[in-house]
């Protein structure tokens, strides 16, 4: 079945990616000019770290969240639902993990479709009904399908380098003053600071667009946008009532959650996720399209 294509979302996604790419190319050029040899060392170090992160992202994320991979015998219903959704999404069935936490949430991780894991909290399983759970799981499968973990790791790579230069750049400057070709290190630090701030905003924007794409993909995988919308509202509502110590522990994982944990006043620009109201609004539009559609 053909759906009304969300061209606006596609255009914004492409534009953000192009802007990030241009920024990174300029930054990489500037780095080569200013830093020369030191860059190679740092590039290797952070590159090595990123590769480790890339290959072990699924295990690392699960471990850092205290998630436990669960078998078919332990959670037959969860496995059955994920398997059916994966079959409908044309994805291999991912590993399934559960976090023992009252905060209702879910996330997907892994570098590729064949090395992916979907994780839910016990709070999520208690809070949602079967249809809503299927909606959330379908959203996470859409993340796997879109390789969000790999895309965001790559997108963040040079941003990380920029941050390291801002934070530790003065160390590189010290020994290299005699080199006539290299500009003062503070220039590199200022350039890096600008790159870091701009790329940070772009990465956050990209993250928000990818949430919309995963909502849309997820709704079409499970065939029930209203169930996903209702799950988002339920999770959002429950968030306010769970103990905050649970939340603080997990706040650094925000970018991967279905709904991020809010920590005070986060402006829209800095947020990894669009507001729940906006996401629900778009899902309702999709639901209306589904309902008003009649077969030829």
């Amino acid at each position: 079945m053909q759906w009304h294509t969300d061209w606006g979302l596609r255009a914004r996604m492409v534009l953000t990616m192009v802007l990030l790419l241009v920024l990174y190319l300029v930054f990489a050029g500037a780095l080569v000019l200013y830093l020369g040899g030191g860059l190679l060392l740092m590039g290797l170090f952070i590159g090595g770290f990123s590769i480790v992160q890339y290959f072990f992202s699924d295990r690392l994320t699960l471990w850092s969240m205290g998630a436990r991979e669960v078998t078919e015998d332990e959670y037959p219903h969860l496995h059955g639902t994920v398997g059916r959704l994966a079959q409908g999404a044309d994805l291999p069935k991912p590993d399934i993990a559960v976090v023992d936490s009252r905060v209702p949430n879910a996330f997907a991780t892994g570098r590729s479709k064949n090395h992916a894991a979907v994780c839910v909290t016990t709070g999520l399983l208690e809070t949602l009904n079967d249809e809503e759970l299927a909606g959330v799981l379908a959203h996470e499968l859409a993340h796997v399908k879109h390789r969000d973990m790999a895309v965001m790791t790559v997108a963040s790579f040079l941003s990380t380098i920029a941050f390291v230069i801002v934070r530790w750049g003065w160390l590189f400057g010290g020994g290299r003053n005699r080199n006539q070709n290299s500009a003062p290190i503070w220039v590199a630090i200022v350039v890096s600071l600008v790159v870091w701030i701009v790329s940070y905003l772009l990465i956050r924007a990209l993250s928000r667009y990818r949430e919309y794409a995963a909502d849309r993909g997820g709704a079409l995988i499970c065939g029930n946008p209203a169930a996903l919308a209702s799950a988002l509202l339920k999770i959002d509502g429950r968030m306010d009532r769970v103990p905050t110590e649970d939340m603080r522990e997990q706040a650094e994982m925000n970018a991967f959650f279905i709904i991020p944990l809010s920590g005070g006043t986060i402006t829209k620009l800095f947020s990894t996720h669009p507001s729940t109201e906006k996401r629900v609004e778009r899902l309702r539009a999709l639901e209306r399209e589904m309902e008003t559609r009649t077969s030829a």
Binding site: M1, K145, L220, E287
Partner: protein, 198 residues
């Protein structure tokens, strides 16, 4: 995986595209000939039932399409539309002959495809009983892959992979068997021991 697919993934388009890809149920008919091989070489006989699994869509028009499917299947013998514990819809038919089973499921799938719901089709499940008794094995047609895979339940949630590999190696050629075992999805029944739709 080509470059085009990767770009589609990275741009966040593939979940929607693949979830809405239409299906081709004509592949079912490969089973008619394959069932002869199943009996002659492996001592499995087609069971008298088969099921079509689909992911329901939350709309009035989809529900009316399901009623059409029910009407189409009526008359030739037992048939029913049921929903499993995961909220997936099954069209189950009972016929004496494998060619009737494949034809009925083809007609059901085609009815859905005609109304624009071909993308909601998930799997067609054809059980085969061992001649010497024991648990049935299944040939499952996966619509998104456009291929068959074997499913041999052993325990409640365990699979007999050596039997599955045997089935694959003997039937490959007669059936389009999915080469990547990562796509051999388990379809467990709600209650242990039954057919996937039970």
């Amino acid at each position: 995986m080509g470059l085009f697919d990767t770009v589609r993934d990275v741009l966040g388009l593939s979940a929607e595209a693949d979830a809405t890809r239409p299906a081709d149920p004509e592949d079912f008919f490969q089973l008619n000939a394959a069932s002869v091989t199943m009996e002659a070489d492996l001592d499995y006989r087609p069971a008298d039932r088969a099921g079509l699994c689909l992911s329901a869509m939350d709309s009035t028009d989809f529900r009316s399409t399901l009623r059409d499917v029910e009407d189409v299947l009526e008359g030739g013998g037992f048939s029913e539309i049921r929903t499993d514990d995961h909220g997936y819809t099954w069209a189950v038919v009972e016929r004496d002959d494998i060619t009737d089973l494949t034809t009925e499921l083809y007609v059901a799938a085609d009815t859905l495809a005609d109304r624009g719901y071909g993308d909601r089709l998930l799997a067609a499940v054809f059980p085969f009983d061992p001649l010497d008794g024991g648990r049935p094995i299944y040939w499952i047609y996966s619509f998104k892959r456009g291929s068959f895979y074997p499913f041999a339940p052993a325990g409640d949630h365990e699979r007999d992979s050596s039997t599955e590999v045997t089935l694959q190696s003997v039937l490959d050629g007669e059936l389009d068997v999915e080469p990547d075992t990562a796509y051999w999805y388990s379809l467990w029944p709600d209650a242990p021991g039954g057919h996937p739709w039970e």
